[in-house]
């Protein structure tokens, strides 16, 4: 029950954060020149991110966060 409550609390917090962040909108499509640059993408270098995820998944007890943490490797 505690786990379910905790998950609900996190979901509520995320929704609240989303709503709060929604308030800071105001960037129009034609103002996306900076955000559209490859180096401003959320994952700017997918191969580097994948390599790091693979290494840390193999050496630490945590994984995922930005993406799925399932792993798919016998190294942990």
């Amino acid at each position: 029950m505690t786990g379910i409550r905790r998950r609900l609390a996190v979901c509520a917090a995320l929704a609240a954060a989303g709503a709060a962040l929604g308030g800071c909108a105001g960037v129009e499509p034609w103002q996306r020149d900076v955000l559209a640059r490859p180096d401003m993408q959320l994952v700017a270098d997918p191969l580097e991110a994948a390599a790091d995820e693979h290494i840390y998944f193999s050496k630490e007890a945590s994984s995922g966060g930005q993406g799925f943490g399932g792993g798919g490797c016998g190294c942990n």
């Binding site: 995320l14 960037v27 959320l42 050496k59």
Partner: protein
């Protein structure tokens, strides 16, 4: 959410079509069919070669990786990935060092290896090749909703993974806010050399496989919900919550624990006739639930980009971890850049982590001496250099990774008091990448 320069163009094109029709009507001509002037991107590729090298003769990994990406139609992409890893070296077995030479039966049951007095116990029979591939397809379901489905497969000598995933992302708020939800399912089979050990069964002598059984499996379900928010023209933030459930065989089949005398700390005799001291194969719970909260901020400082992320993870094994990761892309002349990287990671030990078990005491329900389930901090320091080419980019990075951990304080008895029960892990990561095929 992929932010693209093309978005504003769509509006212009939509204006263009009725304008052309109106012009044609005035000129008394039939309106031409809409011509899609947007040329689809050709295939583009990311490729890299990576060397991961641990000090002290531990794990070495040579890895080739590639991503191929094709735009099928506007906002619709096919992504294919490929990875090939070759692993050699030695891996800590979990057994504690001692003041005497220790002999172990290798996983196959056909050979043995030894660890000298006071030396860390490394299983040098470890080697593997891994091949992995995945494919995903992203397409717009509606004007504001993107769907992404994918599948993955990987194979090692002793492990097979099959996975599928799906993700949906919906833009709101003039595309300044994106909410996403994803689910991934994996079904993995572990077929260890010599068979999967019975949890907490004793290591036996050469040729005796009574502690081993056949292959085993585990299923993993991941859920992820996230929000991405454009804060201003130069700042974007991301917040994700993820939940991961694993069920099945979650042991590392090659990890063992030492059973030592509770006063002297010396190893105690193992099964009669085996010629071994007493070691037990590890036994972890057969389920695990992990939750994590991940936050990222990315900001442009007039061509230099700061990316900072925090992750908090907790699971029902008693592991809590925090991760801070910071990259700063420092733009140089002609599109070249330098990118320093700092990462700090800290985790608590799993409830069932034991550096050693003591003779004469009841064997716990679950136990593992795997250093990755112990309490440790890790730091990564790195530097990357990138250089644009006509249709892509070259880049190279070098990073240093160090883990510094703490053994279970209860293990510091007798001869173990002065031995290094949790050796540092030092590794170098070198990666050279080449991206090409971009317009």
């Amino acid at each position: 959410m992929q932010l693209k320069k093309r978005k504003p163009m769509r509006k212009l094109r939509n204006v263009g079509t009725p304008l052309a029709a109106a012009t044609c009507a005035l000129l008394g001509q039939a309106a031409p069919r809409t011509v899609d002037a947007q040329e689809l991107a050709p295939w583009d590729f990311d490729t890299s070669f990576l060397i991961y090298s641990e000090a002290d003769g531990r794990v070495q990994d040579l890895s080739l990786n590639g991503i191929a990406r094709k735009e099928l139609r506007e906002d619709s992409f096919l992504n294919l990935t490929f990875a090939l890893d070759s692993l050699t070296g030695a891996s800590p077995s979990g057994a504690a060092p001692s003041n005497v030479v220790q002999t172990f039966t290798s996983p196959s049951g056909n050979a043995s290896y030894t660890a000298g007095a006071v030396n860390p116990v490394l299983d040098s029979t470890f080697h593997d090749q891994r091949i992995a591939a995945s494919g995903s397809w992203q397409w717009p379901v509606t004007r504001l909703t993107l769907m992404d489905v994918g599948a993955s497969i990987s194979n090692e000598y002793d492990y097979t993974h099959l996975g599928v995933d799906a993700k949906v992302a919906r833009d709101f708020n003039n595309r300044n806010t994106t909410l996403s939800f994803g689910v991934a399912l994996a079904s993995d089979t572990v077929d260890p050399v010599g068979g999967a050990p019975v949890p907490l069964a004793p290591m036996l002598g050469l040729g005796n496989m009574a502690s081993k059984r056949g292959d085993d499996s585990k299923d993993v379900t991941d859920f992820l919900i996230g929000v991405t928010q454009v804060v201003n023209r130069k700042t974007i933030v991301q917040l994700n919550y993820s939940l991961s459930n694993s069920d099945g065989y979650l042991n590392d089949p090659y990890k063992i624990l030492s059973v030592v005398d509770a006063v002297t700390g010396s190893p105690v005799p193992g099964p009669a006739g085996s010629g071994l001291y007493r070691y037990l194969y590890e036994g972890r719970p057969d389920s695990r639930e992990k939750q994590s909260l991940f936050g990222l901020v990315k900001h442009d400082f007039d061509g230099n980009v700061l990316e900072a992320s925090l992750r908090y993870m907790t699971d029902d094994w008693g592991v809590d971890s925090q991760t801070l990761d910071v990259h700063y892309r420092w733009g140089l002349k002609d599109g070249r850049y330098l990118q320093p990287h700092v990462r700090y990671y800290s985790q608590t030990a799993a409830d069932f982590y034991h550096t050693v078990l003591f003779d004469g005491r009841p064997v716990p329900q679950f136990a593992s001496a795997d250093y990755r389930l112990g309490e440790f901090d890790a730091i990564t320091l790195g530097l990357k250099y990138g250089m644009p080419t006509k249709k892509g980019e070259w880049s190279a990075r070098l990073e240093w990774y160090q883990q510094t951990g703490n053994a279970d304080p209860a293990a510091r008895v007798g001869v173990l008091t002065n031995l290094d029960l949790y050796p540092d892990l030092n590794a170098l990561i070198a990666q050279v990448s080449y991206k090409f095929g971009r317009r």
